[in-house]
Symmetry: C2
DNA sequence: TTAGTATTTCGTAAAAATACGAAACAAAGA
DNA sequence: TCTTTGTTTCGTATTTTTACGAAATACTAA
């Protein structure tokens, strides 16, 4: 990562990127409403292959917006509340909301 | 565009994508502060080629977040205030801010 | 031990994003 | 008319994203 940009800019871009696909926006909306759910629940909702969904979940996890808790044979995904708050604050200050 | 996602999701993803690169975040911050500027001003700030900067400006313009006004031999870029307000509202409602 | 369930990882293909330098452009000034 | 200035477009290379189906994994239940 170029050391030119400040961390506010880098973080905002990172979070924006995590939200830059409608499927991932959908997932975050779903989790905002009910806080946790299983991958299968989302798979029924979304018009994409399960493996593709899994990739989107992986990206949201890598960005720190969600976390997965193993609950065999399923995996329960929840919002990472701490980071979600931080992300919200970033957007808030960036946009003067 | 798949007709599965609703327009709120599509728009949010579109704006998020526009902000998914630190250079574009930087540009929007710069324009938020002083509302308008020239491509050259940004070029001095940013560690990227002018042609690359031009591409980023083009993307922000395509997303509707900025607009360019020809002011020969320069081009004055300004925030598209109407759309920027709409984008802010989208993020605001998405994030319950 | 075998079968079933929920999910991920792997392999891969196609499309999009990012970046650069060279060339083109359009208007202003000499 | 020629040159300079600020900027974009073009051509191109590299990397990343998005997508799918097949195979692997991990745990449960029969």
């Amino acid at each position: 990562m170029s050391n030119f940009y400040n961390s506010e800019q880098i973080n905002l871009a990172r979070w924006a990127k995590a939200l830059s696909h409608p499927a991932r926006v959908h997932i975050m909306q779903h989790l905002s409403k009910q806080s946790c759910c299983y991958s299968g629940d989302l798979a029924e909702d979304l018009p994409i292959a399960r493996s593709t969904l899994s990739q989107h979940l992986k990206e949201l996890k890598a960005a720190g917006l969600i976390q997965g808790e193993i609950n065999p044979p399923r995996i329960k995904y929840c919002i990472n509340k701490d980071n979600w708050e931080i992300a919200k604050k970033s957007f808030k200050s960036f946009m003067n909301l």
